[in-house]
């Protein structure tokens, strides 16, 4: 390195504003849902049915349905229709608008254990003011009018009783 360069290093970079570069990248993905999820999502879309898969070895009923029981590690083979009512296990109220949140805040997110299932489902709660939300509350699925075969074919869950 020449003397001139060393002089620059010795003086430091005072007065230099670091440059910034914006990304030009867009990487779109598409995901295959697979047979198991597709069967569930078609049931939701075409029949307003919520189907779970049961492990015949340990008896646990999974929602989302999964092809293999993660505990017993055997294929789940028994489909069960659930009623669409369930219990709030926990919840939060998102107060800050983020790009990841498609609805206008405040949005109530809850983990809902559907009757007859052993795992919970993450979804929205509507039809109740955030202040009245309680763990243990009974809720039921409200289907969307326009259903496209996604988890949002359940538009939201609402309290079973007027709160």
């Amino acid at each position: 390195m020449g003397t001139k360069d060393n002089a620059v290093l010795d003086q430091g970079f005072d007065g230099i504003e670091p440059m910034v570069f914006e990304s030009q990248i867009s990487v779109p993905y598409s995901w295959w849902a697979g047979d198991t999820a597709t069967y569930f999502l078609k049931g939701l879309r075409d029949e307003k049915k919520i189907r779970a898969l049961k492990c015949t070895s340990c008896g646990k009923t999974y929602i989302p349905p999964r092809k293999t029981c993660p505990v017993c590690f055997v294929p789940n083979t028994e489909w069960k229709d659930l009623s669409g009512t369930g219990t709030v296990q926990s919840f939060t109220i998102a107060r800050r608008q983020l790009a990841a949140i498609s609805k206008k805040v405040p949005v109530i997110y809850a983990l809902i254990k559907l009757d007859g299932a052993d795992t919970a489902m993450l979804h929205y709660i509507e039809g109740i003011s955030p202040e009245k939300m309680k763990i243990g509350m009974k809720v039921q699925a409200e289907f969307a009018e326009d259903r496209k075969g996604t988890i949002q074919d359940i538009a939201f869950f609402k309290p079973v009783k007027e709160v």
Partner: protein, 386 residues
């Protein structure tokens, strides 16, 4: 064949919200040079490198290759390990495996992040299932909020109990020159800060940080030649518990419970509260500081608020937690787990200066990931038995 392994040097950057004056590999280099200086060895003494950061955070995938100017990885074996929030702890566990195998004698371990360079919520969303969880995903904080909400309902804890943990960590950070946020806060200030996702206020959560950390591990063949006070790795453990967000037990961190039981069994720790002298907990929000030490078995379920409220986990208390100021004071995510490891090692080696806990025989460092997975390391002053 299996070798005992020790940490013989650590290094960190001075973590800040933005480091526009350096690019990623230049940031990495600052931590690497500090670790080499701490161990008083040269880059030519290093046999292999493990590096990690958060997927998608800087949008650079081949970090193992791209970083060699900074890491010193030119013409060396370099492996990238990335496991989300636990990355910093996983790279350390990976380094431990390499050295313990007997195949490499001295390994350099690096964790780094420039959180200032991306939409972190967008990047974190990629950790969740696109069909089931992403369409109704509410951001990283909402998952934590649901855990806190469930814990409060189960044990009657309050928002004030959470705030007490933030107050502790921010106070501890005053003694750590490497921490980003070094200003004391009060319980009232936490409770008055904006509500992000009930019951989590702005001051209940970590900041976004640019920073890097490096650790040098050596086998028993050379550790004691490099330093007279090595930090011996007694055990490591990690556990995962779910595929979908609804699978977890909200209000309890079951992966921490299982990993702790495994870690303490391997390390021969029977009464963690008595035998552990200091914990560096990967705790990105206040309530984690309560819930997760219960799952670690330090105290019983529901006992956290009282135990912490009485000052037992403050500096000078029975079991100081996060003398560094923890994640609430500083969170360069891919480095964060390794900073916990650095800090635990510094405590065991007696190098923590202003935030040194006296007479540390055993320390625990942890990593927490995305939602609900756990990595852990048990550090000790004494050389473990064969």
């Amino acid at each position: 064949m299996a070798k005992r392994v020790a940490i013989v040097g650590t290094g960190q950057t001075f973590h800040k919200s933005h480091r526009p004056d350096v690019n990623g590999q230049e940031l990495i280099n600052e931590a690497v040079q500090a670790a080499l200086k701490d161990a008083d060895i040269k880059i030519s003494d290093i046999d292999a490198i493990i590096i990690g950061n958060m997927d998608h955070f800087e949008g650079i995938n081949y970090v193992d290759c791209w970083s060699i100017d900074g890491s010193g990885g030119f013409m060396k074996p370099v492996i990238k390990i990335t496991t989300g929030g636990t990355t910093g702890c996983s790279v350390a566990i990976g380094g431990y495996h390499l050295v313990a195998s007997g195949l490499f004698d001295r390994v350099l371990i690096i964790g780094w992040e420039k959180n200032s360079e991306s939409d972190t919520t967008g990047a974190i969303t990629t950790a969740f299932d696109p069909i089931w969880d992403r369409l109704v995903f509410a951001g990283a904080i909402s998952g934590l909020a649901a855990e806190a909400q469930a814990y409060m309902a189960r044990y009657g804890a309050t928002e004030k109990d959470g705030a007490r943990v933030s107050v502790r960590d921010r106070k501890h950070a005053l003694n750590n020159p490497h921490a980003q946020l070094r200003k004391e806060i009060t319980i009232d200030e936490v409770l008055a800060s904006p509500m992000l996702a009930d019951p989590i206020h702005l001051l209940d959560v970590c900041p976004r940080t640019d920073g890097a950390a490096a650790v040098i591990m050596a086998s028993e063949d050379s550790a004691e030649k490099i330093t007279s006070s090595p930090d011996w790795i007694w055990a490591t453990s990690n556990r995962h518990s779910y595929s979908y967000l609804g699978d977890a037990d909200y209000g309890r961190l079951t992966s921490m419970r299982e990993a702790s039981q495994d870690l303490f069994k391997k390390g021969g720790i029977k009464e963690p509260r008595k035998e552990i002298d200091v914990i560096e907990l990967y705790q990105p929000y206040s309530f984690g500081g309560i819930i997760w030490i219960e799952d670690m078995g330090i105290i019983g379920p529901g006992e956290g608020p009282r135990y912490i409220g009485e000052g037992n986990t403050d500096m000078g208390g029975e079991l100081p937690i996060n003398p560094s100021g923890g994640v609430i004071s500083c969170n360069p995510i891919g480095a964060t787990g390794l900073i916990r490891c650095c800090e635990a090692a510094m405590q065991v080696m007696g190098k923590a200066d202003q935030h040194q806990v006296p007479d540390v025989n055993f320390a625990v460092s942890t990593g927490f990931g995305g939602c609900w997975w756990t990595d852990m390391i048990l550090h000790g002053k004494k050389k473990p038995g064969k």
